[in-house]
């Protein structure tokens, strides 16, 4: 697939911008702070309904404006779809596809698929487990948009159950009994939605692991082999083998039963502490180089390579699924040494479409020759 057109109004620093793209390479060049990343961030938003830089929508709306609008025309298999998103802070966003409103913004997920690699991705390796869970969940949604619903259902149940545990815990500490007659109900729903998310993540890890290992070996041939593995919060209740490339596909019902068992086991602690201790919100995608965990051990360069390998692994996986995603490389060549640059350039040159941002044109490898846009003083000119 490729993005044929992008138009934003009141998005980030842009009062208005209009860009026409073609398949192949497009490079956005301009000095720091001119709004290059803002433009690719807008595309990322259409693909994931989130930003790779901030957790809330407010910073995406141009300072002083009530709302931002992103419009983009995406061509997939010769069919063009126009997606329009209106982002309003603190309110539900609105979405249209081919000028017709859709019931919920999440109905646009799946129209544009992107794999975005950016300096922030170092956090995939060095950051909190939440960064890696988000990586997995974004991949799930990119592969099958319905997982956006699975994830939000799970999060809602999690919040409700957490509130119940908190009041029950507080009541207990105050010497009252506290009403937990509904806890079994919430356990059941948490296990149902949690197992669905967990099963999907395990299968995803099994599918993506070989791609990540291969990408890492190409990006950093001199380094030790990279491995990824999923550690769930189910502890000993977790059925063996799921989540490994050579293992069986994850069995949702077995996981649901395991989760219920584990919930039952930790219930006293949960009430004591007033938090949910079991479920995919506590899980970890473990990254290892050779025998050592990447986090806390990997060098700066190795960490970069690992982050890149995760993104490229995701890219290869989505490509293998069918619709080839748009590759977005935000300001990353400056961070990589020559060998890694060349590897990345090789993948990018073969992509159906790749959008690159760079402060100086010289940072972009020569083989990535293509359309060039100058971004400066709030304007875009194709060069």
């Amino acid at each position: 697939m490729y993005v044929r057109h992008l138009q934003v109004s009141d998005f980030r620093s842009w009062e208005r911008a209009d860009l026409a793209f073609e398949p192949g390479v497009s490079v956005l060049v301009g000095p720091n702070g001119q709004g290059k990343t803002n433009l690719v961030e807008a595309l990322g938003y259409v693909a994931t309904l989130g930003s790779h830089r901030v957790a809330t929508d407010l910073p995406l709306i141009r300072h002083g404006s009530p709302r931002a609008v992103v419009r983009t025309a995406v061509v997939n298999d010769g069919r063009e779809l126009l997606v329009e998103l209106e982002i309003t802070a603190g309110k539900a966003n609105r979405a249209r596809v081919n000028r017709g409103p859709v019931p919920r913004p999440r109905d646009v997920l799946g129209i544009l698929r992107t794999v975005l690699f950016a300096p922030e991705d170092l956090a995939l390796v060095r950051g909190d487990p939440g960064e890696r869970r988000r990586f997995l969940d974004d991949m799930l949604v990119a592969r099958a948009p319905r997982y956006a619903g699975v994830r939000s259902d799970y999060e809602r149940v999690l919040k409700q159950r957490g509130a119940l545990l908190k009041t029950a815990g507080a009541a207990r500490r105050a010497g009252r009994s506290g009403d937990i007659s509904t806890l079994d109900v919430w356990d059941g729903h948490l296990a149902k939605h949690g197992a669905e998310l967990l099963a999907a993540r395990l299968d995803l890890v099994a599918d993506i692991a070989p791609h990540v290992a291969a990408s890492y070996a190409e990006v950093a041939p001199e380094s030790r082999p990279a491995r990824i593995g999923y550690r769930s919060s189910l502890g000993e209740s977790q059925p063996e083998g799921f989540g490994r490339p050579d293992g069986p596909r994850a069995d949702r019902e077995a996981l649901e039963a395991a989760m219920l068992t584990e919930l039952h086991r930790v219930r006293p602690q949960e009430i004591d502490r007033g938090v949910c201790l079991v479920g995919p919100h506590r899980d970890e995608l473990e990254l290892a180089l050779g025998e050592l965990p990447a986090k806390g051990y990997a060098s700066h360069g190795e960490s970069w390579s690992f982050a890149l390998a995760l993104r490229l692994g995701g890219y290869e996986l989505l490509r293998g699924d069918g619709a080839e995603p748009v590759l977005v490389l935000d300001d990353v060549f400056a961070e990589l040494d020559r060998g890694r640059r060349r590897q990345l350039a090789k993948v990018a040159a073969a992509a159906e479409q790749v959008l690159i941002t760079a402060a100086v044109a010289e940072d972009v490898p020569e083989e990535l020759d293509g359309a060039r846009f100058e971004v400066r003083h709030g304007e875009v000119h194709s060069a």
Binding site: Q160, T167, V185, W186
Partner: protein, 202 residues
């Protein structure tokens, strides 16, 4: 924090469903700037809603008399009870004209975030209704028509557990097809009607 009556008003408004702290503030300052006549009408309406509206002593729906029109209607099937969250859901189901039984309004759904547990809902009254005969007839079927969202589903599961112990009672749930994450009130008549006729035993 604002001083005195303004903050009191913001606090009161903030307790209303669907009103967050930001909206509460906005509404409070809107009221502060409003014409005395507008405030008077609002005051009037608030007063009347407490004095003039009663809740049906059988089903809990809003009513003009102690027992509501539907519960008084002898043509309706007393062996069939449709359980909904809010009075507005009664209207939604009525619009489908698929349902000829009676209702039970819970007054909400399980919602720990808002401090709503089973005791805050009219669940005890439902169990009592099922235990008692009406015109010599037992309640034969409970149709659970809570909203198809997280809180509604949890409430449905809880009810199913509570109702298991009644021998001979059939418990059904509206057929799926209702948009998930939704609100019964906003389902169109056709969809809700189909969900009613295609309900399944749980």
């Amino acid at each position: 924090m604002y001083e005195g009556p303004v903050q009191d008003l913001i606090d009161e408004l903030g307790r209303l469903p669907g009103v967050g702290p930001k909206s509460a503030q906005r509404i409070a300052f809107h009221l502060l700037a409003a014409e005395p006549a507008d405030i008077g009408r609002l005051q009037d309406a608030l007063q009347k809603v407490k004095e003039g509206v009663v809740f049906c002593d059988v089903c809990g729906n809003v009513s003009a008399e102690t027992t509501c029109r539907i519960c008084r209607d002898t043509r309706r099937d007393v062996t069939l009870i449709c359980v909904v969250e809010e009075p507005k859901d009664v209207l939604a189901v009525e619009r489908t004209r698929e349902f000829k039984g009676r209702y039970h309004v819970l007054g909400g759904a399980l919602d720990p975030l808002s401090g709503v547990g089973p005791d805050q809902l009219r669940i005890r009254q439902l169990l009592q209704r099922i235990g008692n005969q009406v015109d010599g007839k037992d309640v034969a079927e409970i149709i659970i028509a809570t909203d198809p969202n997280t809180e509604g589903e949890a409430t449905a599961t809880y009810l199913v557990r509570m109702l298991r112990d009644f021998p001979g009672l059939t418990v059904t749930r509206l057929a799926s097809g209702l948009p998930m994450g939704g609100d019964l009130e906003f389902a169109d008549e056709l969809t809700l009607g189909r969900a009613m006729s295609g309900r399944r035993v749980v």
